[in-house]
């Protein structure tokens, strides 16, 4: 099997830059959300459509990023 419909895009969630990588593998779409800096994975999801996989990843990433505390420096 090979990856099809590979795509990447950036968006902002809870004030943080997020990078989404989505592709089709077999009959499922896979999506990975990471924080652009430093690039750590926040969510890895699957779905029967691109939207389903991306929406699940975005929801999970938003939840995690919403917990991040910024401190005064």
């Amino acid at each position: 099997m090979r990856v099809e419909e590979y795509g990447e895009r950036n968006l902002q969630l809870a004030g943080w830059d997020v990078h989404l990588t989505t592709y089709k593998l077999g009959d499922q779409y896979h999506c990975k959300a990471d924080n652009v800096s430093p690039g750590a994975a926040l969510a890895r999801t699957t779905g029967s459509t691109r939207d389903e996989a991306e929406n699940a990843a975005i929801a999970r990433a938003q939840e995690l990023l919403g917990r991040t505390r910024r401190r005064p420096v």
Binding site: N35, R44, L64, V73
Partner: protein
């Protein structure tokens, strides 16, 4: 990879595809997200779990020597095997695995340039099949601790400027604005950085496709921050995997002779009672 000082430690995705059936080559996937391998991997690749197989699971430390030998043996890796490691996040934990293999003296271990991301984006073959591996004999060397920094090494940089410290975390982690990468659990008591450290985030060494930038770009990046052959270098991050990526770049792609990875990193320093901490954004180079 002609322009790096040690191009032999890096292979391309096409090289890996061409050597899929080479009995002298073992391909290993090491991901931050340990479920990625199950989704589909390079045909013939096995997987190592950084959280359970590449560390001491009781005390905080790298993998003990006997466990390392057992891991290599069970992976079908002999002392003469060419090992190619790749993984997600542009090879974060792949570099972590390579660093440990170098500590134990494995002669021929390489990274697949661009890691898992490049393999996927190129639409290369993937499989869910896990290869059957025959255990072989493996004997580790005496640990080479010249590539590993411990707390006293870092403390020694405070007064005598004995080494250049490179903090490879994000600017927000460096400044103390956040205590861990966004979205991840906080794992230290204090934010900031080791006094005197330069902030050169690990990702600055990578192109958009996950491959490493060329020699001239890397040399300019570190040279602008005063990181060069004139002084030993110690790289650190939060737990030591991002800094092993930077260690790889400095040691092999730029060829600096004295580079150490401080795997205690911020989760050690930022939890120490009485350790000096600097906060705020990075000063301009030369300031």
């Amino acid at each position: 990879m002609p322009d790096y000082v040690h191009p032999e430690v890096l292979v391309s995705t096409s090289w890996v595809a061409d050597h899929a059936n080479d009995p002298n080559v073992r391909v290993v996937e090491v991901d931050v997200d340990t479920k990625a391998y199950d989704e589909g991997h390079v045909p013939g690749a096995i997987a190592w779990n950084w959280g359970s197989q590449l560390c001491d699971t009781v005390q905080r430390d790298i993998i003990p020597r006997d466990k390392y030998e057992q891991l290599m043996s069970n992976s079908g890796i002999s002392n003469d095997t060419t090992v190619v490691i790749y993984g997600d996040n542009n090879n974060w934990f792949a570099a972590w695995a390579l660093w440990q293999m170098k500590i134990y003296g494995h002669r021929d271990v390489r990274l697949m340039n661009g890691g898992r991301k490049k393999w996927l984006s190129e639409g290369r073959e993937l499989t869910k099949d896990v290869p059957s591996v025959q255990p072989v004999k493996y004997k580790a060397g005496e640990p080479d601790l010249s590539i590993r920094a411990f707390l006293p090494d870092v403390q020694g940089t405070l007064s005598g400027k004995s080494a250049s410290l490179v903090d490879v975390r994000s600017p927000q982690e460096f400044s103390g604005e956040i205590l861990a990468p966004p979205g991840l659990p906080e794992t230290c008591q204090r934010g900031g950085h080791v006094p005197g450290a330069r902030n050169i985030p690990w990702g600055k060494v990578c192109n958009d496709d996950g491959t490493f930038k060329n020699y001239d770009e890397l040399k300019a990046l570190y040279g602008a921050e005063g990181v060069n052959e004139s002084k030993p270098v110690i790289a650190y991050c939060r737990i030591g995997e991002r800094s092993s990526h930077t260690w790889f770049v400095l040691k092999y792609l730029l060829g600096l002779k004295n580079v150490k990875n401080y795997d205690g990193s911020w989760t050690e320093w930022g939890n120490l009672v009485g350790a000096p901490v600097e906060r705020g954004a990075a000063a301009k180079a030369g300031a």
